[in-house]
C-alpha cells in the first residue's frame, strides 16, 4: 500500500559528508601547528634518522642493491618500506580513534558510521601522498627516479589504504564493545612491525651457515611472511620506489586478494555492530 510506497528511500552514501569529514581531519591535523603541512614530514624524517643510525650504522644492515635502479643506500631502502608501514599503522589506529573520538556525533546524528574511519583513511592517504612526493623529489635529486612507476604507486597507495581500512573497520567496530581492543591493537601492530622485514633485510630470515630458513613453531618463517600482507605491501613499495620497476601480475593479484578479504571481513563485522553503536559508545 501507500505506506510501503512512502517508505524512506535509502540515501546514497553521502560522499559530500565523506569529503567534509576528510577535510575536517586534515585541517584539524595541520591547523594546530605553525609549520602546518611541514610537520607531516617531520615524524618520518626522525624515524628515518633513528632507524638509519641504529640499524644502518650500528648494526651495519645492508640492503639489497636496487635492481634495476642501482640505488644502494639503507636509508632509501628503509624509507620506502617504512612509509608504507606508517600509512598502514595510521589507518588502523585512526579508524579506532575515529569511532571512539566521535561518540558525541554518533550518539546524536544519523549517518553511515563507516564514513568516520573512511574519512580518517582518506586524510592519512593525503599525508602519505605528501611523504611519497617528498621521497620521489629527493630520489630525483640525489639518486634516480623511473617515472614509469608513478601510476602504480598511486594504485598501490589506494590498495594499501583499502587494506588498512578493512582492518580498521574490524577493530574499530569491535572496540565499541571491548574497550581494550585499542591497546591490544597497538601491541599487535608493534609485534607485526618487527615481524615484517621493514628495518631489517629479509635475508636475515635465512641461517647464514646452513643456507636454510629459520623455523617458528615448525613452520618456515618465509612461509609465514608470505601470509603476511604487510610483507607484500612493503615489498611492493620497495619494488616501485627502491628498485623502481613494476611488480609481477602475480604479486598484484596477491595484494588485491588480501585487500578484498580485509575489506569484506571488516565491512561485515562493522555492519553487524553499526546499528548499536549510538548506544554502546
Amino acid at each position: 500500500m501507500t505506506a510501503t510506497a512512502r517508505r524512506r528511500k535509502r540515501p546514497d552514501y553521502p560522499l559530500e559528508l565523506l569529503w567534509n569529514l576528510t577535510l575536517r581531519e586534515l585541517r584539524g591535523k595541520y591547523k594546530r601547528s605553525i609549520l602546518g603541512w611541514g610537520w607531516s614530514l617531520l615524524n618520518p624524517l626522525v624515524q628515518l634518522a633513528v632507524y638509519s643510525a641504529v640499524f644502518g650504522i650500528l648494526f651495519k644492515a645492508t640492503p639489497p642493491p636496487g635492481d634495476p635502479s642501482g640505488i644502494h643506500a639503507y636509508s632509501f631502502w628503509l624509507v620506502s618500506g617504512l612509509l608504507a608501514w606508517n600509512f598502514h599503522l595510521n589507518g588502523v589506529m585512526g579508524a579506532i580513534g575515529s569511532l571512539a573520538g566521535n561518540g558525541n556525533l554518533i550518539r546524536k546524528v544519523y549517518f553511515p558510521r563507516s564514513i568516520l574511519p573512511f574519512a580518517t583513511s582518506l586524510s592519512w592517504l593525503v599525508s602519505f601522498a605528501i611523504e611519497i612526493a617528498a621521497l620521489i623529489l629527493i630520489l630525483a635529486v640525489f639518486q634516480t627516479i623511473n617515472l614509469a612507476v608513478l601510476p602504480l604507486v598511486v594504485v598501490a597507495a589506494v590498495l594499501l589504504m583499502l587494506f588498512s581500512l578493512g582492518l580498521g573497520l574490524l577493530v574499530s567496530a569491535v572496540n565499541v564493545y571491548f574497550r581494550d581492543i585499542e591497546y591490544l591493537t597497538q601491541i599487535a601492530l608493534q609485534v607485526w612491525f618487527f615481524g615484517t622485514p621493514i628495518v631489517y633485510n629479509e635475508k636475515l630470515l635465512t641461517n647464514p651457515k646452513t643456507g636454510l630458513h629459520y623455523h617458528l613453531l615448525g613452520i618456515d618463517v618465509l612461509t609465514i611472511e608470505k601470509l603476511n600482507p604487510m610483507y607484500h605491501f612493503t615489498g611492493l613499495f620497495r619494488t616501485l620506489l627502491y628498485h623502481q620497476t613494476w611488480p609481477t601480475f602475480g604479486e598484484i593479484g596477491v595484494l588485491v586478494a588480501f585487500t578484498a578479504t580485509s575489506l569484506l571481513v571488516g565491512s561485515i563485522v562493522f555492519r553487524r555492530i553499526e546499528p548499536r553503536m549510538a548506544e554502546e559508545l
Binding site: M1, A3, R6, R8, P14, L17, R24, D180
Partner: protein, 433 residues
C-alpha cells in the same frame, strides 16, 4: 491509506488504546490514524543493555569465557503513533520515560528491535546542537561540515550561508575557531544550521530554551514560520503550558509505553492530573497514614492535609483549656494551584456563631508542597465545642481555590476557677484599685 490501522472493528487494539483503557481514560484520548502522515511509528520497542562497566574489556570477557554481562532495560515498549503532515506533535512524560529514545529512533541514530518507522520528508533534528563541530575549525568551516552531516549539499549551504550566519548573529565571529566561542554562541550556530537545512520535519528535544532572550524570540518566530509553511514538528519538552500551546496532538509516555494520546490539551490535562494525584499520594505517605488516622485532620484536592495540633506536644488535639495553645496547619499543593496562596482559618462555635476568622496576610507558594501554620499561644474561648474551617485563596482574596469546612473539632475545657461565661476568655487580672 493506512496499512497498519484499517478502520474495521476486527483490528487488534493499538497500544494507545490498551494503555488508555487500563487508565480508564475516555475515548478522546485515543489518537486515530493520520490522513496524511509525515511520520508513522509502528509498534516500536527498544531495549537498552546496561553493562557493568568493569566488564567491558576483552580481558574480562576472555577470563569469563563470554561477552560482557549486561542487564536489559525496556526504554520504549510497543509505541505507535502517526504524525499528521503540517501539524505539531508533542511527547510528554516523566524523566526517563523514553521520549528522547523515541525521537532518536525516528532519526535512526538508535534502531528499535521491533517495529518500523516510516518518515516521509527531509528531517532535521535539534537534539544536540553543534554535535560534530570541530573546535579547531572556524565557524564557517563548521557550518559546511555540520550541514553536510545533516544531509545538505555544498551548493545549498553556499546559498544559505549568509542567512545562517545572520540568524546566529555571529557575523563578526564566523571566521574564528569555534573553540573560542561562548557556549551560547556555539549552540546558536548549531541551531541556525539545523533549522536552516530546509527540513520538512523538525525533531526538537528540549532545546526550545537556548540562547538569550533575543535569540529565543528569533527561534520562536522561526518555529512559527516553519509551522505556517506547512512543516511538521515533533517536540519533546517539560514546559507543559508551552506544549499545550504549540502542539496539535500529543502522546504521554510512561515507562516507555503510551498512556494517552490525543489533542495536546486533553493529554496534558490528564498528564497534569496524574502528576498531581501522584504527588499528593506521595505527600500523604510522607506526612502520615492518611487523614483518617486523626479525627482532627482532613484532605481535599489541592489541600493535601489540614489539621489541628497541640502547640507544645504537636500531637493532634481534640480538647484543651483556655491557657493551652494550638496550631492550625495546612499543607497544600502549590504547583497544582499554580500561584501563591493566602490562607484563612475560621473558628465557629457549634451553634454556627463565628468566633473569628484569621488571615495569613501574606501569600506563599514554596515548592510543590507548602505548609502554612497559624500558632495561637492561648485558646481564649469559653468552654464549649468549636469547629475549624480552612480556605486557600489567591493573594487578592477574590478567588477561593479550596475550602474545607470543619476539618477539625475541638472542645474547650473549663479551667479550675470558673467565674465567667459568654464567648471569649480574656486574660484578666482582678484587683482593688
Amino acid at each position: 491509506m493506512n496499512a497498519m490501522t484499517p478502520p474495521d472493528d476486527s483490528r487488534p487494539t493499538t497500544p494507545s488504546e490498551r494503555g488508555a483503557a487500563s487508565h480508564g481514560l475516555e475515548p478522546s484520548l485515543l489518537l486515530g490514524p493520520a490522513k496524511d502522515p509525515a511520520i508513522i511509528v509502528d509498534h516500536i520497542s527498544k531495549k537498552f543493555r546496561i553493562y557493568d562497566e568493569r566488564n567491558r574489556s576483552l580481558k574480562a570477557a576472555v577470563m569469563r569465557g563470554r561477552r560482557a554481562r549486561f542487564q536489559e532495560f525496556q526504554a520504549v515498549d510497543d509505541v505507535s503513533f502517526e504524525v499528521e503532515r503540517g501539524t505539531t506533535f508533542g511527547l510528554v512524560g516523566e524523566n526517563g520515560c523514553g521520549k528522547s529514545t523515541t525521537l532518536k529512533c525516528i532519526t535512526r541514530t538508535i534502531r528499535p528491535e521491533t517495529g518500523t518507522i516510516t518518515v516521509d520528508g527531509r528531517m532535521s533534528a535539534l537534539l544536540e546542537l553543534g554535535a560534530g563541530f570541530h573546535p579547531e575549525l572556524s565557524g564557517r568551516e563548521n557550518v559546511y561540515l555540520n550541514a553536510s552531516i545533516l544531509g545538505m549539499r555544498k551548493r545549498e549551504v553556499d546559498a544559505k550561508l549568509d542567512e545562517i550566519v545572520e540568524f546566529a548573529g555571529l557575523e563578526r565571529f564566523i571566521d574564528m575557531p569555534v573553540k573560542n566561542y561562548s557556549s551560547g554562541m556555539y549552540v546558536r550556530l548549531g541551531f541556525a544550521v539545523a533549522i536552516n537545512v530546509n527540513p520538512d520535519i523538525l525533531l526538537v528535544d528540549e532545546v526550545l530554551a537556548v540562547g538569550d532572550e533575543e535569540f529565543q524570540r528569533k527561534c520562536n518566530e522561526k518555529f512559527a514560520t516553519f509551522r505556517d509553511a506547512g512543516g511538521t514538528i515533533v517536540v519533546v519538552s517539560h514546559g507543559l503550558e508551552v506544549m499545550r500551546d504549540i502542539c496539535d496532538h500529543a502522546v504521554w509516555l510512561e515507562h516507555g509505553r503510551i498512556t494517552a494520546s490525543g489533542t495536546s490539551g486533553d493529554v496534558i490535562d490528564h498528564y497534569l492530573d496524574m502528576v498531581r494525584s501522584e504527588r499528593i499520594e506521595r505527600a500523604r505517605e510522607r506526612i502520615g497514614d492518611g487523614a483518617g488516622a486523626s479525627p482532627n485532620a482532613a484532605t481535599g484536592t489541592n489541600i493535601v492535609r489540614a489539621e489541628m495540633l497541640h502547640a507544645d506536644t504537636r500531637d493532634p488535639v481534640e480538647s484543651l483549656t483556655a491557657t493551652e495553645g494550638f496550631v492550625l496547619r495546612v499543607t497544600f499543593d502549590a504547583e497544582a494551584v499554580g500561584e501563591d496562596v493566602r490562607t484563612n482559618f475560621g473558628i465557629y462555635r457549634d451553634d454556627g456563631q463565628r468566633v473569628g476568622s484569621f488571615n495569613s496576610g501574606w501569600s506563599a507558594a514554596d515548592g510543590p508542597l507548602t505548609t502554612v501554620e497559624m500558632v495561637a499561644p492561648r485558646c481564649p474561648l469559653q468552654p464549649g465545642t468549636y469547629a475549624v474551617n480552612v480556605a486557600i485563596h489567591d493573594h487578592s482574596m477574590l478567588q477561593e481555590f479550596e475550602r474545607i469546612d470543619k476539618f477539625a473539632r475541638f472542645e474547650v475545657l473549663p479551667s479550675e476557677d470558673r467565674h465567667q461565661s459568654g464567648m471569649v476568655d480574656f486574660s484578666q487580672i482582678w484587683r482593688t484599685a
